[in-house]
Point group: C2
DNA sequence: AATTTTCGTACAATCGTTTGTACGCGTATT
DNA sequence: AATACGCGTACAAACGATTGTACGAAAATT
């Protein structure tokens, strides 16, 4: 039944004008008379015309699509970022295509290739944890496609002309650690992540600096590194129990790690926060569900998405002045819940 | 510096052949000699050629992109579905573009429009809860684009020639309710959702049927309807407490609703599962984190994605026989955790 | 009334690939 | 030796929209 999709040529034929006139009429071009525009619109409706954006993209060399690369979509933080990005760019007529790397560098690479071949107008990315070779990102820049990095940032990319928006991980970690110190904790363990990922390095730095400022010596044995997943958290929970002396608090660079450890510790009769206070990082949605509620650091995902999107729009803007790839640093926010409250709040 | 992107014409010129030869060489066409293929490949490498899939899509009338419409990406279930879909279709050279409706019919509508204009080769969708008018879905079918519905299914779409894959919500609810009955519960409340969404209707039916089979009268006052979000769960938790007699169990059609209620009930000193047993639906990731762990129904998101993707591939397959839009129904699985265990397991 | 402007539309090239058909050449068939 | 066949490549027309330029007619200027 679908004999053929109707094109602007069909409309043109029907009306006895040319396709160029139809095209301009549809774009509300000033040089087309109002009467013609009306006729075109009517006929378009009548013939059930739908624009073919592929054809337009080819001609214009612009797809109006931007690609967003994230490790995984089911993280609250990344989902918020995407929402934020969409909110901004949709207004300017851009569509977002999301592609997940599942934290695999290979998938990340093939995703980037596909995005570039699809002629996306820009790429916003948070790279996979395991990525250590950034050539595929350099390729993006080399092809002249605007690139904005968010959340995770790597030194080897800083030299490129890329925009970036991150939170101040250092500050977040500092706030978290200081909060624990204020609660009276002195033996604070730290669950850290791969040190080539700058966010984990920064968080560790924040942790150490907070201790320094409060004249608490840094004990390397209290700092443990892992992939920070739930399972790793459980393992670390077990490990804690083998130590000569339990820490009185844990600052974990990830909520998953914190919750994993909490599960084990609770099982073993350790009271949280009384025996061990816990603080996580990211404000994942489940942190408010767990018992006790997990104190954590909110990363302002939606806001980060807004900024990243805006940086992209700036880079493709007509106004050359706005085109300096900016770096934006957001302030993280400490969300205090019960898991860290040793001093009970007087009611 | 980016003088110009290199095209197959550039390669052709350099080699003294025509673009068609280059195109065929790149596709490994049998009629092109091996020596030419080699030369082309080398030159492509040398000139840093990257195919422009927009141009190919325009010519072929096929974008190799499929659109997936989901309410929101940060639900464990939907994230799994997407992973499942990607796993299958990537093998056949398709890319997935994800678009979220945030459960808003307007966004859903505009997303569909954009997807169609982008000439996607197919659309897999789980529609927004609030959607009651399905014309935009009919439009998909009318334009001859394969449509597969997953998870949520609406009567008014059944007449269309669409494939669908759902779980047996009825059976899931039945299993959940029966499990509660086996635990000795008799006064089982049900948190239900909008009845025009078939999944909620089915779940309610499963609940009622389980009661019937066990000769427990259905008490309409125990069935409450809401949007099943966390906040609604909290509200329902409050409501429960105002009843003359507390139920001894709750079967909620959503994990969020269940957890929201649990929060309130725990606050008010109600013991779970001893006073009230709880069962949710969906196996969201947080259900294993909450205390006590929430018994729930797993919907096999990844598998659902596999099936949906396969249905799509069948519909676009050369083989006409395979082209009947199939309906697949998956069996849900009961995941038992502590929240429903009144009879303590003897250790 | 002659000339310049303005207005509305047509013409034609273009974006980068794909693909049906034609064609020349060398080898095989009889 | 004449015809037939394969093989490898060229030619040219798509796909559907956009856009710089040209051009005729009407309106405005002098």
């Amino acid at each position: 039944m679908e004999s053929k999709k109707t094109t602007i040529h069909d409309i043109a034929n029907e009306l006895g004008v040319t396709a160029s006139t139809v095209s301009r009429a549809l774009q509300d071009h000033p040089r087309i008379s109002d009467s013609t525009k009306e006729e075109v619109l009517e006929m378009a409706e009548k013939l059930d015309y739908h624009p073919n954006s592929i054809a337009a993209a080819l001609r214009k060399g612009k797809s109006n699509i931007i690609g967003v690369i994230i490790p995984m979509a089911d993280r609250n933080f990344f989902a918020s970022v995407i929402r934020g990005v969409e909110e901004i760019v949709n207004k300017s007529g851009y569509r977002v295509i999301i592609s997940q790397s599942n934290d695999s560098p290979e998938r990340e690479k093939s995703n980037i290739k596909a995005l570039l071949e699809s002629q996306v107008d820009g790429i916003l990315a948070s790279y996979a944890k395991k990525t250590t070779d950034f050539d595929h990102y350099k390729e993006i820049a080399r092809q002249g496609v605007p690139l904005i990095l968010f959340d995770r940032l790597h030194e080897s990319l800083e030299s490129l002309e890329v925009g970036s928006v991150v939170i101040d991980d250092y500050l977040g970690a500092y706030k978290a650690t200081e909060h624990l110190i204020e609660q009276g904790c002195r033996r604070i363990a730290h669950f850290s992540g791969p040190q080539h990922v700058s966010i984990y390095k920064e968080r560790r730095r924040g942790y150490e600096e907070a201790l320094n400022r409060h004249n608490i010596p840094i004990d390397e044995r209290l700092i443990v590194e892992s992939n920070l997943k739930l399972e790793a958290g459980r393992r670390l929970g077990e490990e804690l129990l083998t130590w000569n002396q339990l820490p009185d608090a844990v600052f974990s660079s990830s909520d998953y790690g914190a919750v994993g450890a909490m599960e084990i510790l609770k099982e073993r009769g350790i009271k949280i926060p009384d025996d061990i206070a816990m603080v996580g990082f990211s404000n994942e949605s489940f942190t408010s569900f767990v018992d006790p509620g997990l104190t954590t650091i909110d990363q302002h995902g939606e806001k980060m998405g807004h900024f990243a999107a805006q940086l992209f729009l700036d880079q493709v803007s007509e106004d050359k002045d706005a085109r300096t790839p900016g770096k934006t640093v957001l302030n993280p926010q400490l969300i205090v819940r019960e898991s860290s409250l040793k001093k009970k709040v007087s009611a």
